[in-house]
């Protein structure tokens, strides 16, 4: 079954569509959740709950959004980030994260030197303040308000930096990379 056929079944809410979508994209969905949350049990809960939440809302996915795979992956990632922040709040880690972490660039761990060069090149091409905000959001999972507090910059400025930075990355990163996850 092609991705388009699966997406059509998902939109039509065919009873088997959720299971089929999970089977098709399980490694990508689980990997994203595991990467954000750092352990298997939380990652499983996250993928399960995120998919069930999407499935309970008939209009959640529409074809204009793009590929079903990307949509589900981002939903799982957002759910994982929400859980990570919730846990951090619960254990009062959030404050320590915001205050004590050094102002240094995130150490990007990518084994493939070509991929690493591709990403670091795309990030390096951004203005420093946009890159800094993006790294805190994407690699550290901080919210816009947390980033604003951490950097001591107005919230509106941070929103603009994040939006502009991601739009520039949109053109700098090759689209085919998405197909590999």
């Amino acid at each position: 079954m092609t991705d388009d056929e699966l997406a059509s079944k998902f939109v039509a809410r065919r009873p088997e569509a959720l299971e089929e979508a999970y089977r098709a994209y399980a490694p990508a969905l689980y990997s994203v959740a595991r990467h954000v949350l750092g352990n298997d049990a939380d990652a499983q809960d996250c993928v399960h709950d995120a998919l069930l939440r999407i499935w309970s809302r008939p209009g959640a996915y529409r074809p204009e959004r793009g590929s079903l795979r990307t949509f589900l992956s981002v939903c799982v990632r957002n759910e994982a980030i929400g859980r990570k922040r919730e846990a951090a709040r619960h254990f009062h880690i959030e404050q320590r994260l915001a205050i004590s972490e050094p102002e240094q660039p995130y150490e990007i761990e990518i084994a493939d030197p070509v991929d690493r060069a591709r990403l670091t090149g795309a990030l390096a091409a951004l203005p420093g303040e946009q890159r800094q905000a993006l790294e805190l959001a994407y690699f550290r999972y901080l919210s816009h308000t947390q980033i604003a507090e951490k950097l001591g910059v107005p919230l509106g400025t941070i929103k603009s930096r994040l939006a502009m930075g991601l739009r520039k990355l949109q053109h700098a990163l090759p689209a085919q990379s998405a197909a590999t996850l």
Binding site: R13, P15, L18, E19, A26, P27, A28, Y30, S31, V32, R34, H35, D40, Q44, D45, V47, H48, D49, L51, L52, R53, W55, S56, P58, G59, A60, R62, E64, R65, G66, S67, T70, F71, V74, R77, N78, I81, G82, I108, I110, R116, L119, L134, A137, Y138, L142, S143, H144, I147, K159, L162, R167, Q170, L173, P174, A175, S177, A178, A179, L181
Partner: protein
């Protein structure tokens, strides 16, 4: 055009940089707006590209697939305006009774719809995480009642320790009040299952306009 819709929230959503409530707002808007949905899709493709470069690919545990398959069978999609299953089933059963003149059929139909709603509740309880709170009484004669709050999907299951209370469950949301339905009598209790109400964090038991008791999501 973009700024008339979600503006920078599109990219912030894709990055996971919004708070939960803000993210829910973006999702709700994207469900109704094709243009913003397309813009959101473009931003999400960038995140997918980043993930493809930075996230190590792992095999998903087999038990996760089994768990999702089991849950998928019991999740009922939320409709735009959810009719109360028990109430409408009872109405349909009542009309059937009037048509065929068999009075006993009504009780059987009521029982079946209540059992079906409870069965759906039990299935949701079995496969998902939940918390529970006891209703705080506003008047002494209020029945003892409890609500189970499902976590994703955000179902509710209200259990009233009385069948004599002809009361409604009313949700209090930022958008206003909404009648969720009447708990259906079953043995010594009355129950109401609501499949998915993510925006509801407070409910009241009411008899007419009188607030009997209140419960909040922990």
């Amino acid at each position: 055009m973009k700024d008339q819709h979600m503006g920078e929230s599109i990219e912030l959503y894709a990055l996971g940089a919004l708070d939960r409530d803000e993210a829910r707002g973006v999702e709700a808007h994207a469900e109704e707006c094709a243009e913003c949905s397309a813009l959101l899709g473009a931003a999400e493709r960038t995140i997918a590209s980043l993930d493809a470069l930075t996230v190590p690919m792992l095999e998903a545990p087999p038990e996760l697939g089994q768990r999702i398959a089991a849950s998928a069978r019991v999740v009922v999609p939320l409709r735009p305006r959810r009719p109360n299953v028990a109430r409408w089933s009872a109405l349909a059963a009542g009309l059937l009774v009037a048509a065929v003149g068999v009075t006993g059929t009504r009780e059987i139909a009521n029982d079946r719809s209540t059992i079906a709603a409870d069965d759906q509740a039990f299935a949701s309880i079995a496969v998902s995480h939940f918390t529970h709170t006891t209703f705080t009484k506003s008047v002494p004669q209020a029945p003892t009642a409890k609500v189970l709050w499902g976590k994703s999907p955000h179902w509710l299951y209200v259990i009233v320790d009385s069948t004599a209370c002809n009361c409604d469950v009313v949700a209090l949301t930022p958008a206003g009040e909404r009648d969720l339905g009447t708990p259906a009598a079953r043995g010594n209790t009355a129950t109401l299952f609501v499949p998915d109400e993510p925006s509801v964090n407070q409910v009241e038991l009411r008899s007419g306009s009188v607030v009997l008791s209140t419960a909040r999501r922990p």
